[in-house]
């Protein structure tokens, strides 16, 4: 198992008039070849920001202010914009939530997939027609030879997402980042898209970072899961271990939230996600934590390794280590 991506102490802050939003605050993790790493978290956890940071798509008032992003050994934060552009779409691709906003309504879909080719392989879109039809076929879009002349508005959400996936896979990337790719889709369509994504990924032996708030989904498709809360990474581990034996109190709470007992009170997590401008002192989860101790209110927990899993919680580490 080789490491293809290593994030070290990543920090992404947003500078707003109300204050500094610490969207991603010292996050570290890695991704290996041919695996799916799921990133779980609620809104404000920073999971989407991580995805944007990897591809250096963070725009003002946001800024990547610290850390390293090592992709196949190269620090992406040190590359020039031209070098990044060569990487995007080719070695690292991003598949996002709402395909309607990312497909240009005035060009046919065939042209837009062809554009991906033109950008990286220097082939004119017209010449790439055969390739484009092949790709559409591989993502199971019916009647591909006619579909290349369709405009985005003529397609359903599921089909648009298939096209987005096809654009993402077109150049056999090493890493696919999928940011809530099915959240806007109906559940029967979602199931098909997830299956397709997984199939395609395996075929080209790419790694995938799958970002979502739907833990049920992650437990079905990812090899390892990273749980984020308020800009911090709280736990990383193999999916089966995390679901059966969660370590961090937040992960424990999330697993409880997944249970839907018949006609009785649902488990709930008290309080609400914290402000990222004024996060709680010490451990960010402590106001909602059932196990919080005095140390948790004062100090931020450091990261501990337990049997190949990573947790950031004073229940497992000594004290200030």
């Amino acid at each position: 198992m080789q490491e293809i991506l290593r994030i070290e102490n990543l920090k992404v802050y947003y500078y707003l008039p109300q204050g500094i939003v610490k969207a991603v605050d010292d996050v570290s993790f890695n991704v290996y070849t041919d695996e799916v790493l799921g990133i779980a978290g609620e809104s404000g956890s920073g999971k989407s920001t991580v995805a944007h940071a990897i591809l250096r798509l963070v725009k003002p008032p946001g800024e990547i202010i610290g850390g390293r992003i090592l992709f196949k050994g190269r620090d992406l934060l040190k590359l020039s914009e031209d070098e990044m552009r060569a990487l995007r779409g080719r070695e690292i691709t991003l598949i996002f939530q709402d395909p309607s906003t990312y497909l240009n309504p005035v060009y046919t879909v065939g042209f837009q997939i062809g554009e991906v080719y033109e950008a990286h392989e220097k082939v004119k879109p017209k010449k790439a027609i055969h390739k484009v039809v092949d790709i559409l076929r591989s993502v199971k879009i019916p009647d591909p030879t006619r579909r290349i002349y369709s405009y985005p508005h003529e397609l359903s959400g599921g089909m648009k997402q298939r096209i987005l996936i096809s654009m993402g896979i077109a150049l056999t990337p090493t890493l696919i980042i999928a940011d809530e790719p099915t959240s806007a889709l109906d559940v029967t369509i979602q199931a098909q898209i997830i299956e397709l994504l997984d199939e395609m990924r395996r075929e080209i032996r790419a790694s995938m970072i799958f970002i979502t708030h739907d833990l049920h989904l992650l437990s079905e498709i990812s090899n390892r899961i990273m749980v984020m809360y308020a800009g911090k990474c709280v736990e990383i581990g193999e999916t089966s271990k995390i679901t059966s034996d969660p370590l961090h109190p937040y992960t424990k709470a999330l697993m409880q939230l997944l249970r839907y007992p018949r006609k009785s009170k649902l488990q709930s997590l008290r309080g609400s996600p914290p402000s990222l401008i004024n996060p709680p002192r010490g451990c960010r989860f402590h106001p909602r934590c059932l196990y919080s101790m005095d140390t948790c209110r004062e100090y931020e927990p450091n990261i501990v390794n337990i049997n190949g899993r990573t947790v950031s919680c004073f229940l497992y580490s000594g004290r200030y280590g």
């Binding site: 609620e42 809104s43 404000g44 359903s156 599921g158 089909m159 109906d186 559940v187 029967t188 369509i189 979602q190 199931a191 098909q192 708030h213 739907d214 833990l215 049920h216 989904l217 437990s219 079905e220 709470a253 999330l254 939230l257 997944l258 839907y260 007992p261 018949r262 006609k263 009785s264 009170k265 649902l266 488990q267 709930s268 997590l269 008290r270 609400s272 996600p273 909602r288």
Partner: protein, 334 residues
């Protein structure tokens, strides 16, 4: 907690509190000057009745018509044909005093908390205007007291009264909406995916609140959702909708232990949060809903159904009682 909830104001002696009869709601689609008018059949001949104090889940994906049905049932959208009866009276024929009384008793909670509250109103006024509906002559002091009492019922601290919506979180906004709705003492509430736009850690708080209120007051809840986990947890009965029609209707436990319609099975097979798994690969999710403008001949599910036959092309199957209180619209189930 129980002391906080108002004593139940509901006194009902009828079995069918809210009932629809052959309900149809079609939306016209513009298509040029000279062509025939085309319609989207959002709600296509729906018959359902809601009992007092029960929770009915309306389940479906986009285009199923669940949202439209909810709104027509609650008196917000006039149907194109068919009727909606509340306590025996056709709600779209009511006028004057009777209309206002029925209007108060049928309420709605929306999916998106951000657009549910006037961005320029403070919480005290948001809930206050609802209170004034039932009691126009209250003094400001009395209204304030009532607002504070309602806030306590939805577990919001008193200092929320001077906040503007943008200063509230999604969960807090939904609580304010719930307080507003409860203020007019409703008997039926349509909850249109009230937790879909909230963070997962907040969802169960709101669901628990809704269920507590429902039990304490005895309100009937029509819960629109696509999340089967929530359906399993809170509903007494489930209506599965597809392309404007109810394809299966039964008690919750029955539907999950014995799903009959192929769409229901496909839905269960695709839902990550379903309580009961379906392992039969026949019902693996496939295909996409056909166009709502040109529905297929015969059974609407025919384009995706793994067990369709030629007979399915002939007629759209009616909703028939297959076993006790379990209705299905599928000829393969008779």
């Amino acid at each position: 907690m129980e002391e906080l909830f108002p004593a139940s104001y509901i006194v009902v002696d009828m079995v069918e509190l809210l009932k629809t009869v052959n309900l149809k709601k079609y939306f016209p689609v513009k298509s040029g000057f000279l062509s025939k008018p085309i319609y989207i059949r959002a709600v296509d001949d729906v018959n359902i009745s809601i009992k007092p104090s029960e929770v009915v889940a309306l389940v479906g994906e986009s285009g199923s018509g669940k949202t439209t049905l909810g709104r027509v049932m609650i008196g917000l959208m006039k149907p194109d044909s068919g009727n909606v009866f509340f306590k025996g009276k056709d709600i779209y024929k009511l006028k004057g005093r009777e209309y206002i009384e029925a209007r108060h008793k049928l309420q709605i909670i929306f999916q998106n908390p951000d657009s549910s509250i006037n961005p320029r109103m403070q919480v005290v006024d948001v809930i206050g205007e609802a209170i004034k509906e039932l009691n126009p002559k209250l003094s400001s002091r009395e209204i304030l007291d009532e607002v504070l009492r309602l806030l306590e019922t939805v577990a919001l601290s008193p200092d929320h009264i001077y906040k503007y919506p943008h200063e509230l979180s999604g969960g807090e906004k939904q609580r304010v909406v719930i307080a507003r709705v409860i203020a007019v003492k409703p008997e039926v509430i349509v909850a249109d995916e009230p937790t879909s736009a909230l963070d997962i850690s907040i969802r169960s708080q709101i669901l628990n609140l809704l269920m507590d209120l429902q039990k304490a007051i005895g309100i009937s809840l029509i819960f629109i959702t696509h999340d089967l986990g929530i359906v399993w947890s809170i509903s007494d009965r489930v209506a599965i909708m597809y392309m404007g029609k109810i394809v299966e209707l039964s008690e919750t436990e029955e539907i999950f232990s014995n799903p009959l319609h192929p769409y229901t099975k496909m839905l269960i097979a695709s839902s990550p949060s379903t309580p009961i798994k379906i392992t039969d690969p026949t019902f693996k999710p496939r295909g996409e809903p056909p166009s709502l403008i040109n529905p297929p001949r015969g059974c609407i599910f025919i384009t995706r159904c793994p067990i369709a036959t030629e007979k399915c092309l002939i007629n759209s199957p009616p909703l028939i009682e297959a076993s006790r209180n379990h209705y299905v619209a599928c000829i393969r189930n008779n």
